[in-house]
Amino acid sequence: MVCAAWLGLVTACAPQAPDHSSWRDQAHLSLEDVGSNVSTMSLVLQLVQDGRMFGKYQQIVALNSETNAGRTTDHFSGEQPEPQDDATYRRVTTVMSDAGDLLADVRIALVRRDSSQYPRLAQELAHMTHRLTRAEAAVRR
């Protein structure tokens, strides 16, 4: 019992260290998840531009997308990569972090109802989706 508790305590403090294959699986799933949240925000922005959503609803969906993407990024950043994955780690965490920043920008614009920003943000979201898809493809290789 004591040994098990000690083991639990020690492993809880250490970062997760999956092997190469598991780490790549994690990277792929995390990119997919962030991509899903970016696409959600893209759809919300399009619906808002078309006058098909009301204020409170769009705020909540936007906030949820931002929170979920941030949670995924934080979780993935805490996974310890093997040395051979260092370059991929930098690439993946950079694109996920940029996606998080963009989602925050969109949420700010939506809450402020700053419609002049919508066309630019829609373009940036489309570009971000493309970056995330390329990163996913690179991780798969």
Partner: protein, 409 residues
């Protein structure tokens, strides 16, 4: 005329009351990823719930006693306790998920953090369960739940290729970018969502509350055999709408807000407002049903006075359990656990508990001492045994699939 009205009302409330937070989330998740290729799992689940709800309703109508009451008497306190523990654990988890679901639905219009809404929702649920008549709880929320028909309207408005949708549903082909294990995991989740144990407890106890007699068996059958399949059709409409709007964008559903996006895309603000009304009504109605199911089952097992047809003072133990269950649900939600996660867990663990819930119902419905000439016939027994086999497979596979797929990832 009065009879026709009663049948129509029963069917409508059965349709509106069929969908709860588990159906909303699971069908939207599956629809966005798999389209209608897992429609067969919903269909199997709906047929299964029809088979066992009909049995438990018949037991209530003929014996005048609820299923749990008879399970303990017929199978003894030990088997009764096993049945009670397994189903109560799931029903309590579902009750928590439903209260969380109401909070999430209200958050979409109030823009207030769900943790501030949860205690308010819990108090309102408790007051309704304490003060409101059973017929009001059943009919009002069941009828308001019909607002979810908006998903069917959205599918029609989106103008899909119906042939392709039908081909997807009938062919049951797994999408090429999904693995067999996630396909199987979501099949079990859909089956669990359709066959949640609380539905039969609520149905049979509700029959006793409404003083069903053998003359009401026909009305009860109409409610089950027409209302539940139409409720299942609503579930399929949710899956189809998310497939049409979220599927092409590769959006996975993690929040209740995403479930409404296809409605906004198809029908705009008005449609979205109706969908939110449907979310609130479906989850609030299910919260009342699950809360009552917890209290019904525990009070029936311990032989205490129970039900809404007696004054609260006469069913003090029943109302105490209701209050404690509500407090426990709030305490769980206030730990900041995601209600959607609780929902996902509840539908999968529901599949695990199904054999312990449904086997005793089959035994009691077969017993001529209780049922007389209304005991199960050959068809009911054959269907019951076949579905117990399906339930056993789903129950065995649920936990390994949960671990293997990391909850469907």
């Amino acid at each position: 005329m009065k009879k026709v009205f009663a049948v129509a009302l029963g069917i409508l409330t059965a349709i509106g009351g069929f969908v709860d937070i588990g159906d909303l989330v699971t069908n939207a998740q599956v629809g966005a990823r798999f389209g209608l290729s897992l429609a067969w799992a919903t269909v199997v689940g709906v047929v299964g719930i029809c088979v066992f709800a009909e049995m438990s309703g018949r037991v209530a109508a003929v014996s005048g006693r609820a299923t749990f009451d008879l399970i303990r008497e017929r199978l003894g306190p030990r088997v009764g306790m096993l049945n009670l523990l397994s189903s109560m654990l799931i029903t309590m988890l579902t009750y928590t998920a439903e209260i969380g679901g109401v909070a999430l639905a209200l958050q979409l219009v109030a823009s207030v953090h769900e943790l501030l809404v949860v205690p308010v929702v819990a108090v309102v649920v408790w007051v309704v369960l304490w003060r409101a008549k059973f017929s009001i709880i059943e009919n009002v929320f069941g009828l308001l739940g019909l607002a979810l028909v908006v998903f069917g309207v959205a599918v029609w408005k989106l103008g899909p290729d119906y042939g392709a949708l039908l081909h997807q549903a009938v062919g049951a082909h797994k999408p090429s970018d999904e693995s067999w294990r996630t396909f199987a995991y979501y099949a079990v989740a859909l089956f669990g969502a359709a066959m949640t144990p609380y539905e039969v407890f609520f149905f049979s106890s509700g029959g006793v509350e409404e003083h069903w007699s053998p003359q009401d068996v026909g009305t009860m059958r109409a409610n089950v055999l027409i209302g539940f399949p139409l409720g299942g059709a609503l579930s399929l409409a949710i899956a189809a709408s998310t497939w049409l709007v979220l599927g092409p964008l590769e959006i996975s559903v993690d929040t209740l807000g995403q479930v409404g996006l296809p409605i906004a895309a198809a029908l705009g603000k008005l449609g979205l407002a109706v969908a939110i009304l449907g979310f609130v009504a479906a989850t609030f109605g299910a919260a009342c049903e699950t809360g009552l199911s917890v209290a019904y089952s525990i009070a029936q097992y311990f032989g205490a006075q129970w039900g809404k047809y007696v004054r609260p003072r006469e069913a003090a133990f029943f109302h105490l359990i209701l209050a404690l269950a509500t407090l426990l649900a709030v305490a769980l939600l206030m730990t900041t656990v995601d209600p959607i996660l609780i929902t996902e867990m509840s539908v999968v663990f529901s599949a695990v508990a199904l054999p312990l819930t449904y086997f005793p119902i089959l035994v009691v419905a077969n017993d001529p001492d209780y049922m007389g000439e209304h005991a199960n016939g050959r068809l009911a027994n054959a269907l019951g045994v076949v579905f117990l086999g399906v339930i056993a497979i789903a129950a065995t596979a649920a936990i390994p699939l949960l671990i293997w797929t990391r909850m469907g990832q």
